[in-house]
């Protein structure tokens, strides 16, 4: 593998981690447009721990993730009072708020950004993405994931069937934030530098896009979406300045052809049935 390909794989890994952070709450119908904020929390926290306290990354990154989760837990209760597009906008505001706060915290460099001394190499980043994919896959086969979709479908009936709607929503949101925080921690240590602008609203929005483009009906959608979003602009490199224009045009056409995303439950069924016939 060339070094360039390895670099792409790393970027892909980050995108996958972010995608799954968005996917879990989305399964419960919550479009989190503030995911970059939680990545920022994980990134800054982990970087601060390794820089200032010489923590090992093995502890610092998970701690960053947990901290992101903790903050998500605290804000989830009021924020999840909102629904639909209001929720999306509330999380969007939250993401902006978090980024704006980091822009003002001098302890982590404020607008000048924060260099990170410890380096975490590509294999670790890729391994982290693989582990997160596996974990989310396992989660997707549980009642928990089923209930998230139930909540998305019909809050009132879910409640009457005995589901703890609020608890499930908060859990989905928080687990997503933990994943985002872990992703942020790896980001800081791989790119050796964090600044608030990296975690802008565009990152949040684009991440939501991978997931929706891939499709939210199955757990593989985000993976495919992230891969698509990462690799397509690379394949379009030859088109030079037309690169992102062509990319955007392709997105529009693909969504027109497959409004439910690239990977749908239906497609999946058919695929499985065919595999079943073959064996």
């Amino acid at each position: 593998m060339t070094s360039y390909q390895l670099g792409i794989l790393v970027i892909l890994s980050f995108n996958i981690i972010a995608a799954y952070a968005v996917y879990l709450p989305l399964a419960a119908g919550q479009l989190n447009l503030g995911i970059a904020g939680f990545m920022a929390i994980g990134a800054y926290a982990a970087a601060y721990l390794t820089n200032e306290f010489d923590w090992s990354v093995a502890f610092a990154i998970p701690t960053g993730g947990l901290l992101a989760g903790l903050i998500a837990l605290i804000v989830a209760v009021p924020v999840l009072r909102t629904h639909g597009i209001y929720l999306a906008l509330a999380t969007f505001a939250l993401g902006q708020l978090i980024a704006a706060v980091f822009l003002n915290v001098e302890a982590v460099g404020a607008a000048a950004g924060y260099p990170v001394s410890t380096y975490v190499g590509a294999p670790w980043v890729i391994a982290a993405a693989v582990v997160i994919v596996l974990v989310v896959f396992l989660i997707s086969r549980t009642r928990f994931a089923l209930y998230l979709t139930a909540v998305k479908s019909d809050v009132v009936v879910a409640d009457l069937l005995g589901l703890n709607v609020r608890g499930l929503q908060v859990a989905g949101f928080t687990i997503g934030a933990v994943i985002a925080g872990i992703g942020g921690g790896f980001y800081a240590h791989h790119f050796s530098f964090v600044e608030a602008q990296h975690f802008s609203v565009l990152l949040s929005v684009y991440t939501a896009l991978y997931v929706l483009l891939g499709g939210t009906q199955t757990v593989w959608g985000p993976l495919v979406g992230a891969a698509f979003f990462t690799l397509l602009p690379e394949l379009l490199r030859t088109s030079s300045q037309w690169r992102y224009a062509a990319f955007a045009a392709l997105i529009i056409l693909i969504m027109a052809a497959r409004p439910q995303g690239l990977v749908t439950a239906n497609l999946f069924h058919r695929f499985r049935r065919r595999a079943g016939d073959a064996s």
Binding site: S3, Y4, F14, A111, G113, A196, S240, Y244
Partner: protein, 370 residues
Amino acid sequence: AGPQELILGYSMAKTGPYVSLAAANEVAVDFAVDEINAAGGINGKRLKVVKFDTGGEPRQAQLAVRQLAEDGKALAIIGPFSSSEVRVAFPAGDRAGITQMSMASSAPSLAKGFRFAFRNTTDEGQVIDQVLAAIKAKGLAAGSSAIAFASDDTVSKSIGITVLPTLLPKHGVPILGSVDFQLNAFDLSPQVSRLAQMKPDIVGLGAPPEGAINLAKELRRQGVSTRVIGGTTIADPDLPARMDGAGETMTIGTTFFRDVDQRTRTFAEDFAKRAKAAGLARTEPNQFDASVYDIVYLYAEAMKLAKVTGDPARAAEERVQIRDALRALKNYPALEGPISFDADGDAIKPVYVIEVKGGKWVLLDKRTAA
């Protein structure tokens, strides 16, 4: 023996928010390479540039280092462009053991502490110091001052909170107050209302060109006349035209000005031809174009001095030699003037103080940083 070409990598922002700047930059790079090859190349070999588009994105800038250093077999890298990219690319360059030289990022001490990092830009503190000195020397009104800066941009912010607050008193100009704004702010009315109340003789500005334009227009709208001064961040040759009549007497320092001598004028004319041929809207070279043009020459000089062969087997060794040659370079006669590098890898070069008069930049003073 060995390959017939010496390869330089070029990390550029062909897409994304910097395209306009980057497109002209590319013209300057090609210009320098063509000249060098026309003059016989380096060490008997042709110079070749391998380009990589980063979209102005830090993650892609790291990817650029990987691709250019390891797959593209470059001996050194031109770029990256923005400060954000630099922050991520310099550590990666150190790990890969390859020299990078940025043409635009002027945030304070970004290259400091790295073994392979250079910037052909001048510290804003030194530039603004010269601007103030020139104002004093020419006897222009400077009885009081105020500060305006973009607070979410590293360079602008450091100008606003460290550079200007130390330099203005140093030159005996009292500071009446300070306002800040955001990079993408389009409405500066609240800030200008406050400036209007202070009535300063000069307003020290830390901002990119857009900030300067918006500030100048809003000053005019609210009927405030004051001299705006700044550093290289607003050194755009088209600025007077873009301010559309506003911004008279704006005074800044830059590292490139077309009317310095015959060499710069010829460069500007040739550049304009090439830019037009490339279909660009802007044909006037700016300081980044001059800087990147000089970077190619600086690299060429270093390669000559280090007698590099481009032999892939010796790449690691030759990259170190290029770096060492650059460090040792003293007053290289570049387009921008004599260039040397300080201990942090930042360029030391002349500063031109220019002023807007009648909707045009005119040279106020030419100074060399202390």
